[in-house]
């Protein structure tokens, strides 16, 4: 009897000691844990969950650190470029120019800055999907000699020398050692919070507002002509398609297959000239259009789909016959696309410096 009682008392004690003793940071973790969270997702995004990598769950502190890094010019080689130089909140985190020359070298880049929102659902990042998660994407713009041109060792040196950052990293990751992995994790956390889900379209889907007849007509035209690639919800299928911009794809040595599209990553002939379908959300804010920003206006984009398509072996079959719309239909479609502009998103102070 006595024996049984002893064990009953000891067992919970043992477990407690074991658990505490085995926590990786138990010894040096005096502060409190980061406040982990998962954002609320509007049903109009048609997503079942909010994917987050197990290694990098979002926390309030991680996002704050990520935002601080996003707006810090100190991460660039010349101290004059930050992430927001090419990803402006008021343009749905795109930059409004076809090919930016805002990088540290002043040289024109070869692809148009993509808008940043709803990124957690993207399986491939960059126009060709080379990067497969936000944590590894970050090193592209950060270190590319024509973008931020950073030497990661210098970035780490800069961050370690800054008391504010020491505290931000400690709060976000309970770490005393700032490494590039934590820099990218924080930036990824911030970018994951950039969720656009409160356009008039979303409100309409949630029965909070009505569409006028023209917008409804435009929605039906969208469903008929655009939905196969710009799938409803995220308004992209997250896939790669050759949409007939060019008949052939030059491959100059110095560009290292950059003009071949997704082929550069997949080595699949069907991916020649294929790029990731951009979202139609915030399309009125994210001009110019295409991976190289070659079209200034949506009218030009519609002209391309009507009579500009270049046919070759990798052209998306859906575009074989182009997309033909009457003038009235164009107006209706454009009226619907305007409902995808998310003012709540671009004015959200939480995303801004």
């Amino acid at each position: 009897m006595k024996k049984a009682i002893t064990y009953r008392l000891l067992l919970p004690l043992c477990l407690k000691i074991l658990l505490v003793g085995c926590l990786p940071d138990a010894a040096d973790n005096q502060g409190k844990s980061p406040d982990y969270f998962s954002p609320v997702v509007s049903p109009s995004l048609l997503q079942e969950d909010f994917p987050q990598p197990a290694r990098n769950p979002m926390s309030k502190q991680g996002v704050l650190l990520g935002k601080t890094l996003f707006y810090d010019h100190g991460l660039s080689a010349n101290g004059k470029v930050n992430c927001a130089s090419c990803h402006l909140p008021q343009l749905a985190f795109s930059d409004g120019v076809s090919l930016s020359d805002q990088g540290v070298s002043g040289k024109m880049l070869h692809r148009h800055s993509p808008a940043l929102f709803n990124m957690t659902w993207h399986k491939g990042l960059f126009w060709d999907g080379g990067s497969t998660n936000l944590e590894s994407l970050v090193f592209g713009p950060l270190t590319h000699p024509d973008e931020m041109g950073a030497d990661l060792n210098e970035v780490i040196h800069y961050l370690r020398g800054n008391q504010d950052y020491s505290e931000l990293f400690k709060a976000a990751f309970k770490t005393d050692t700032i490494t590039s992995a934590f820099i990218s994790r924080a930036l990824a956390q911030f970018v994951r919070t950039l969720i656009s889900q409160d356009s008039r379209y979303d409100q309409w889907q949630r029965k909070e507002t009505d569409f006028n007849p023209q917008e409804i007509s435009g929605y039906q035209l969208y469903q008929k002509h655009c939905n196969s690639c710009h799938q409803e919800g995220l308004f992209t299928d997250l896939q790669y398609h050759n949409n007939g911009l060019d008949a052939t794809y030059p491959d100059p040595d110095e560009l290292e297959e950059l003009l071949l599209g997704r082929y550069r990553i997949s080595f699949d002939d069907q991916d020649l000239g294929a790029y990731k379908t951009p979202s139609l959300r915030n399309i009125y804010l994210t001009a110019p259009y295409m991976h190289d920003g070659r079209f200034e206006t949506l009218e030009e984009v519609l002209d391309h789909y009507e009579n500009g398509i270049q046919r070759n072996g990798s052209l998306a079959p859906e575009l074989e016959n182009g997309i033909n719309l009457t003038n009235q239909q164009r107006e209706d479609l454009l009226a619907f696309l305007a409902t995808l502009t998310d003012h709540t998103f671009i004015n959200n102070k939480a995303y801004q410096k």
Partner: protein, 246 residues
């Protein structure tokens, strides 16, 4: 009674919290790597070497990852794989590392050059996989498995750059992730009950340029090799005959 409980508790706590629970009383195996080119010790930014194809070549950078190290005992069939072992070997930096493994009579060793697909595409950028080591691609997720850079010239004074960046478990296979096998027994290196074992490897860079695929720089259209056929060819070259156990 109380004493017994405390002893049980103490032992339990110690064993449960020991990170190397699965590797009791083992041996420390040190790996060290040296590199030669054309039979001479590799020197970066030094005198030019002559490649098998006749070009003169001045190397500037040479580094690669070693991972997925497995020791085998072919008699008993047992084996041990070093978990989470990703080691960057850099001619200009660290050329040795050591691992702890459980004691056994191992007679075979396998390691890979490169990073397995699961880790290559993961978000774990820690240890030697830290992107500040300049081995992460910046337009693709993943790592360069082997990097050789330098300048070459052939029958002229014109110097050309050589950039060999091999990586990618592309596209759906792991064709550039190469297993290197060693027969420890026939190399006279069977491991036994020693507490510390030293394994010295030498890599001959000539092998990157030949066998089975002859790489003649002055006949290539482009000597910036970052993927495609030639990356695969070179990876096949270093799979056999590149490393020798000294």
């Amino acid at each position: 009674m109380k004493k017994i409980a405390i002893i049980v508790l103490t032992v339990w706590t110690l064993t449960a919290c020991n990170d190397r629970e699965e590797t009791p009383s083992g041996m420390a195996v040190s790996f060290s790597f040296s590199h030669v080119l054309d039979g001479n010790p590799l020197e970066l930014e030094g005198d030019a070497f002559t490649l098998p194809s006749g070009e003169s070549f001045t190397p500037r950078k040479f580094k690669y990852y070693i991972s997925n190290i497995t020791f085998k005992n072919s008699i008993s069939g047992s084996s041990y794989t070093v978990s989470d072992g990703y080691f960057l070997i850099d001619e200009a930096g660290k050329k040795k590392f050591s691992v702890e493994i459980p004691s056994d009579d191992y007679d075979a060793l396998t390691f890979y050059v490169g990073i397995d697909k699961a880790r290559n595409l993961s978000t774990d950028q820690v240890g030697d996989l830290d992107p500040s080591n300049d081995m992460a691609w910046n337009w693709n997720t993943g790592y360069k498995f082997l990097v050789l850079e330098g300048e070459w010239e052939y029958e002229s004074d014109e110097r050309h750059g050589l950039v060999v960046h091999i990586g990618s478990n592309d596209p759906e296979s792991e064709q550039n992730f190469k297993a290197i096998n060693f027969d420890l027994a026939s190399a006279g290196q069977s491991l036994g009950s020693e507490a510390v074992v030293q394994l010295d490897f030498q890599a001959e860079l000539n092998e990157l340029f030949m066998d089975p695929n002859e790489l003649i720089l002055h006949e290539l259209e482009n000597t910036s090799i970052k993927g495609g056929k030639w990356a695969v060819n070179i990876a096949n070259n270093y799979q056999e005959g590149f490393f020798t156990l000294q």
